[in-house]
Symmetry: D2
Subunit: 320 residues, 4 copies
């Protein structure tokens, strides 16, 4: 089932285009910016980000198996990606692809590169669309793509060979905060729907709004949204003031906190809506799957928890 209800409202500042535009603005050559960033900003084309692979735990970038091989004036790309969100949009013209140019480099974070691949280059094949809890998220979708000896000019490399990990780090910080912001909006909207439903629905002689446990669900939701919003604002503020690298602790914290919070709040709203809550008649079921997906997408919770825990241990540990 395609997502129709909330697309216009939630995805205007859409993933993955926003993140891709930031990559091009920050790391692109003037020619790359002219060819791709300008039409993206103008809304003439759309783009996708091909990083995750079906065969390996892609949260660990050193696992990536797609190869980017230099051949004369070209690079040749071979590999398989999935959950390449948005790649099925009719207007999608650009894929930013992560792969390995130097798989044997002893520095495991210099093996990867990123490269610009036209969506319709020969050898780029859509294998199938992937679902998120039964939603195909059309029209953009999350397809599985095969890159079969896809050839692009050497000038399509981003920033240079071996810089892929570095770009990924730079791209993912802002991308994560964008997801957090969208999810806070979803949670707030769910809270408001919960209140409306509770005041208009009667069970066992009283409106739901008069049931103690419903009131507690609403109050907890308010508290959790308020806190997550402040944390996300603080992270964004630190990114603006001190840069993405310095804000890594707060970005990780927001990425850990917000998707779970949103899923929890939306889950309560679903419960108060009864069958309507899982149906296509409200935005709740769709929003729930978005929140749940982001506990995996852009780095699963465990990766961020481990990194943040390590940072705190370095700060306060016995040898600190």
């Amino acid at each position: 089932m395609g997502r129709v209800l909330w697309a216009p409202e939630v995805f205007n500042c859409s993933a993955p285009d926003a993140g891709n535009m930031e990559v091009l603005a920050q790391y692109g050559t003037p020619a790359q910016q002219r060819d791709w960033l300008v039409p993206l900003l103008a809304g003439e084309i759309r783009s996708a980000f091909a990083m995750t692979e079906p065969a390996v735990a892609s949260s660990d970038a050193t696992n990536i198996q797609t190869t980017i091989r230099r051949d004369g004036d070209d690079y040749v790309i071979d590999g398989r990606k999935w959950y390449t969100s948005g790649a099925m949009n009719e207007s999608c013209q650009l894929l930013i692809v992560m792969g390995k140019t130097d798989p044997d480099n002893p520095d495991r974070h210099r093996q990867q590169s990123m490269i610009l691949v036209p969506r319709h280059a020969p050898g780029v094949q859509v294998l199938r669309d992937m679902a998120v809890f039964g939603f195909d998220d059309g029209p953009g979708g999350h397809p599985e793509l095969v890159f079969n000896s896809v050839r692009v000019p050497a000038s399509n490399i981003l920033l240079g060979e071996g810089r892929g990990f570095e770009i990924a780090q730079g791209r993912l910080g802002p991308g994560r905060i964008h997801h957090c912001m969208r999810l806070i909006g979803c949670a707030q909207r769910a809270l408001e729907l919960m209140c409306k439903r509770a005041t208009s629905r009667v069970a066992f002689g009283r409106s739901l709004a008069e049931q103690g446990s419903v009131r507690e669900d609403i109050a907890h939701s308010f508290c959790e949204i308020a806190q997550a919003r402040l944390l996300t604002l603080q992270a964004a503020d630190k990114m603006d003031r001190e840069g993405n690298k310095s804000a890594r602790d707060l970005i990780a914290a927001a990425k850990i906190v917000v998707p779970s919070m949103a899923a929890r709040v939306i889950d309560r709203a679903i419960q108060i809506h009864g069958a309507a809550g899982v149906s296509q008649d409200t935005f709740l079921a769709e929003a729930y799957t978005y929140a749940r997906f982001i506990r995996i997408g852009d780095g699963p919770d465990q990766v961020h928890l481990s990194a943040l825990g390590k940072q705190q241990l370095g700060l306060h540990g016995a040898s600190a």
Copy 2:
């Protein structure tokens, strides 16, 4: 997206047919049993149970708005139902419909009746199919149905006018335990998938199975499944020995515990599977939505919690 992966395995002892057969066996006249129970048991036809209505909180049966009006030798049914699971199966021939024969009866639990309605009777209209988190659960589906002056013989009433609430009570106990049993199977299967995935997937230099938090997720899942299974077995045993009414506390407890437990275990398995966990490539996303739905279906958690809390207060309270 239809549910294809697990249908044969999980739904053989399928809802709502199992529950409907029990209703006919327990409350049907010999003629009703000959016409409907025999072909159901033979697997020649299927059935659906039309109780939930879109316009009211149907967990409170006194809210039901569908009317069943006596007219000569017939009853005439008017109303709207949704999430009538299975009604779109090609072989679905029978609807058991809950409605009000006596909406003004001062005893609010004597207003309702149940009646047998052929699926293709004139006036029975499928309005649309309802989704569960993006799954349409075809081919049976969960359609929204309109009953527009549907006329059936008076002999189609079950047990007699005003007995609908009583039948619902009788039907829902076993139905709930069936759902619990299926969900325990889903959770156990998710646990086993989690173990397989964790031992075959490597991230950050170690298999997932060597990560402490993954082991804890697996251990917690074992503990929760083991407990829920024992509780469900105890409830079933009490139903067999002492009857459904006496087992109401344990049935409620199982219905409270099991769907949440299954959702929690499957959620952990999803996380360990990464993107594959929300995709169509494992049964996890489907199973998650089934578990989540049953926190609403057959009575939302809140209704069972309130009833069980009241029962315990009666047993141990100050005036007890």
Copy 3:
């Protein structure tokens, strides 16, 4: 066991003196301020706040049974209070007592008054000291007091008869935020202890800091403290800008969130410390009981959840 470890650090801005001083500053007559506020501010005397009663649910102020009866130029106080924190301090000279001057007033929030009672007035009897999880919290303690025809001049009434509920509302907002601030400090200190312990302790061949689940506990604690701190700061800021009444939603939110958060963080720190965590050798066991007590003190969670839920329903509900 008295609390010795953290008293100087945590209680300098101590409850209940801080709140009592605010009451006197805001509602006291010049004579009341001269007699009690000046020596309190100078640290020459200490005070206690006698509101909670053993026999009734005192979170509902309309339940209060202590009577304050006018008799000529005096008031006469009869009743029983407990958990009158600090009343056993040697230097405690003042009790602010809540009671009913007009128990039959149809406006249930005009029945109560507050009155100043010298700690050693005839008829004020310490019955016994109350414990908080085995801590007697000496030297201040939380005694149970009997007021046996205690007579004070009529001029000791605060603000006037029937204004007790209003003063309580005014007093409790700031008092709650003070508790939140102290508890955030406790939680932060627990987080830092957790990091130190984890880096200095080895089990099963690795330091605790290298165990995945320990890192996750630390990361979750950071996230929860960061959020609760921001919420508390936002509440305090709104109190300063818009006044306590307008900030009621955020005060309630902080009071709901912070004690549970602190208890959770400290509980994780206890677990990482093993037996030392429950012992007298760290501040953790003491701090845990403080956090847990404040889920009851100054209004149990349920009261704040209900009030906040109602406020949100009013804001977003169907009829809003």
Copy 4:
């Protein structure tokens, strides 16, 4: 504060005597049994189990630092232990002490031995009593003990040198299940107190029993106790039928589940009791600290979770 309320009821089948008697019955020589087991069974003396040490993570037995050195016909014991529960009982005559006879053995589970030490042997010094959340748990206490060249006959060794780890494994299984059984009793008693309190206490115009969230707390408590009880019974049954070793998975599961469950149920009961819940007037505060302590005692949760997770991975993993 000593534990007075529940001692007679909960500790009749008391820790650590029950476990120590099992050790002597299973591993003791006839002479050891005559000297110690017979008077223990007769209730003439009591005993303690000295395993945990303040300086190391004692859940990992290979960390133990106490030494047991052979010297002619004697063993000489040097070390420090704490939380040696019961050692301050007037009638305590026996300490079973864990230490290392062969600290350099390459098999890390053959370094340890257990030895019988008379409580009043020269060189056994009580340093101080340790608290559990402010409770000293007198008269038995949980003292910190120093063993300063304590000399006992060589015949006091249990089972032989290098068998200490093996005995610990054998002892701790039953000991854990005994704790689970006591804690289930505590939780059930807390549930019953909760019901009594809720029906006898009024707030905001209704008894607590009529508040939805109180009913839900009661219902959840019933569900959790029922499940944990069944799991514990299943573990005990498997121990009886198949032996402690085969039942290790279920013993671990019960030890993981029950203390947390009891703490959660008692915590809810505390909340419903208000200040009385943390006071010395009910058994709740005491019982809470017992439950919380057992999440650390006899192996912290993390150790059991890791072991159980590993067992499940072995059973269901990819290579299984």
